[in-house]
């Protein structure tokens, strides 16, 4: 049977983090940027929970931290979505490429 050890978790988390980072850099759609940010935060969560399971079974700090990170991640996402809606109302576009700046200048 394939044994899942700490190092697998860490590897998964690192890959997920990098995917999220890549997503933030290359995404054109603002919603995807925000989702990528969530990817990064969740990658970190995996790290925390894994470490907590392997290292800190008494106080479970990692689990608590993961919950905090989730809650705050949601807050950030909410703000991001609110701004997204504002941007969409102004420019009718949710492009992260900055095209809407030009659009607004002309309109």
């Amino acid at each position: 049977m394939f044994d899942v050890t700490l190092i697998h978790y860490l590897f998964l988390s690192a890959v997920l983090f990098c995917v999220g980072l890549l997503g933030v850099i290359v995404s054109r759609h603002l919603l995807r940027v925000l989702i990528s940010v969530e990817f990064m935060l969740n990658a970190v969560n995996i790290n925390f929970v894994a470490f907590s399971n392997y290292n800190d079974l008494i106080r479970l700090d990692g689990h608590i931290m993961a919950i905090f990170v989730m809650a705050i991640g949601v807050c950030e996402l909410a703000i991001g979505l609110a701004i997204l809606i504002l941007v969409f109302r102004k420019t009718h576009s949710v492009d992260a490429d900055g095209e809407y700046i030009e659009e607004e200048k002309w309109s």
Binding site: V26, S27, A96, D97, G98
Partner: protein, 634 residues
């Protein structure tokens, strides 16, 4: 008492605030009521005067036990620069003198400057000068003294150039500033050199860096750490400061030109207080100077030469203010002469008396000039005693005192002469005696030309206002009696550990006789002469000498023509160097940061992804850097 002494810094700080208040509000809220700035300035100065009385009482009660307090101003490595105040005999006397004269002159200038459009600016500058001068007097260490020394110079510059639209005034201000720079730079170098020599002392033992109260021990340390020649150089550089500030030969050229300032300023700054600051600093640095006998000789000779030359030049001036300016130079030379031969208390005594007398004379001259609608040439005056008796009689008191006939000036001058005699240098003694005669002559020459005889001017003589005459009368009192009152106790109060005894009983008699003879001589030449005699009478036998005096011993000519030419050539060459080498290289080096900035700017104003990309790139670089270093270690 303790409370007042502890808060005496208020005296220095308040004028600064009144300066700021007036200068900020001069177009706004102060403008509405002219008297605000006068009341503010005068009130602050009056407060300072009251404080100074207490300081004086303290100094009299606790002789040899100065009061000082210091606080840290700046840390520079292991050195701690302090600011503070020191109240001893010297500073309390100076403080009293400065505040009292300043108070009277401020009251006087209210009337003098009434019609001037820049009335507020004038009072603001006077406040600023007060701040700087009181700070200088109270300062407890050499470093602080230097700061206020420069501020006093700045105040003087501003006030000389007060009517800056007049070309001659702005030129005179520049000249004063430049000449003073020579001295200030010397002083700075001297202070740095002295600090360098006595560094160990200040670092290990003293609590106040460059403090005056421990100057004596520091000097001993400095003397051990260098040869006597090196010590002389340092002390000489320090002495350059007083030379320039007190207008001593060869840096005296700025003082007569400084008479472009309004007359109250001439009375306050260029006769009574600021120019005396040089003498004051020399007295402060006496523990240093006295250990270099060559320098003491130099001080004495510089003083003697200045006294003689300036007195000679005063003989031929027609401008009343210039005549008084040369007289100031000459009297300051007297003080340096006294300090140089070791008559410390006599020099300081003369400083005190002379401040009152010269302030009085200048204010009288100002009153005359004011009522003759800015006429300064004495050839167009005369017989003014009948129109303005108060001015004439107070002026006469000043003249008598200055020439040393029985009044205040008599006792101080006599002390100086006996001090010189005690030092045994007969050459200097004869110069001093001769100069005493000359000073009686030139001062009575101005008196006779202005107040006696017949009026030769054309303009209407306006009466002198009461606000103007009150300060004159008040100033006449110390000019007349202060010397007599203090002559028996002053050298106990302000002294440098030793006394000069009068060994020559007939000295007072001789000096009075000489002075009276000079007055008689002056009356022959100048009393009630309709024609301008001295151009003819004096010129014929002493033509070349007269020329020499009028041309100011060719010192100005020398500076102007010779030094300026050399300097201009050098400056031209250097400017070319600056243009084609320094500027060009800077231009080239400047292009690269701008180009780099433009390159970096490409990333700004771009989309989010690019921003994050740059950040991640930098982050990866940082982590890579860490990794590589860790690998190096492992």
């Amino acid at each position: 008492m303790e409370l007042i002494l502890q808060n005496i810094w208020v005296v220095a700080i308040l004028p600064l605030f009144s300066f700021l208040f007036i200068i900020i509000g001069q177009k706004g809220f102060v403008h509405l009521e002219k008297k605000i700035s006068m009341y503010l300035t005068v009130g602050v100065t009056f407060l300072g005067w009251i404080f100074s009385v207490f300081a004086l009482i303290y100094a009299i009660q606790n002789q040899g036990n100065p009061f000082q307090e210091n606080f840290v101003w700046m840390y520079s490595g292991s050195l701690t620069f302090s600011m503070g105040y020191l109240i001893d005999e010297l500073s309390s006397v100076m403080l009293f003198m400065v505040t009292s004269i300043s108070l009277l002159i401020q009251i006087y200038s209210h009337s003098y400057m009434k019609e001037d459009p820049s009335y507020h600016r004038f009072f603001a500058y006077l406040s600023f000068f007060n701040f700087a001068m009181i700070g200088l007097v109270l300062s407890s260490n050499l470093f602080q003294t230097y700061i206020f020394w420069e501020l006093v110079g700045l105040a003087s510059y501003l006030l000389i150039g007060f009517w800056y639209k007049k070309n001659s005034a702005s030129k005179a201000a520049q000249k004063a500033f430049l000449v003073n720079r020579i001295g200030d730079f010397g002083l700075l170098l001297g202070i740095m050199g002295f600090l360098f020599l006595s560094y160990n002392f200040w670092f290990y033992e003293a609590d106040v860096l460059l403090g005056f109260s421990s100057l004596k021990q520091a000097t001993e340390v400095a003397l051990v750490s260098t040869s006597s020649k090196g010590f002389f150089v340092v002390a000489f550089l320090m002495f350059l400061g007083p030379v320039a500030k007190s207008a001593q030969f060869p840096l005296h050229v700025w003082l007569p030109d400084a008479m472009e300032a309004p007359t109250p300023v001439s009375a306050l700054i260029h006769a009574a207080t600021m120019v005396a600051a040089g003498v004051f600093l020399t007295a402060r640095l006496y523990p240093i100077f006295i250990l270099s006998p060559v320098l003491m000789q130099l001080i004495a000779y510089v003083g003697a030469i200045t006294a003689l030359l300036a007195a000679c030049m005063a003989l031929v001036q027609y401008d009343i203010k210039k005549a008084l300016a040369y007289s100031t130079c000459s009297q300051l030379g007297y003080m340096f002469l006294a300090l140089g031969v070791g008559a410390y208390s006599a020099g300081m005594f003369h400083l005190l008396i002379h401040a009152y007398v010269k302030a009085l004379l200048f204010l009288c001259a100002g009153a005359v000039i004011h009522s003759l609608s800015s006429q300064q040439d004495m050839r167009y005056m005369g017989g003014l005693r009948k129109q303005m008796p108060v001015v004439a009689y107070t002026y006469l008191i000043g003249c008598l005192s200055l020439s040393g006939i029985f009044l205040s000036g008599f006792s101080s001058k006599e002390q100086i002469l006996s001090g010189i005699l005690a030092s045994g240098n007969m050459f200097l003694f004869y110069i001093a005696l001769f100069t005493a005669g000359l000073s009686a002559f030139y001062i009575f020459r101005t008196y006779f030309m202005v107040f006696e005889g017949k009026y030769k001017g054309e303009s209407q003589v306006e009466p002198v206002s009461k606000v103007m005459s009150v300060p004159l009368i008040v100033l006449a009192v110390p000019s007349a009696v202060l010397g007599v009152l203090l002559s028996w106790c002053f050298d106990d109060f302000v002294s440098f550990g030793f006394h000069t005894e009068n060994h020559f009983v007939f000295l007072p008699l001789i000096s009075i006789v000489i002075a009276l003879f000079s007055v008689w001589l002056a009356s022959i030449f100048y009393w009630d002469k309709k024609k301008l005699i001295d151009t003819e009478l004096v010129k014929l036998p002493l033509k070349s000498l007269h020329r020499l005096f009028v041309e100011k011993f060719f010192i100005d000519w020398f500076y102007d023509k010779i030094l300026n030419k050399i300097y201009a050539k050098a400056a031209y060459v250097l400017s070319k160097f600056d243009r084609f080498v320094v500027d060009a290289s800077i231009d080239i080096t400047f292009q690269s940061p701008v180009a780099a900035g433009k390159l970096l700017n490409i990333v700004q104003h771009k989309k989010i992804g690019a921003y994050i990309l740059v950040s991640v790139f930098l982050l990866v670089l940082l982590c890579g850097f860490i990794m590589s270093i860790l690998n190096l270690i492992v």
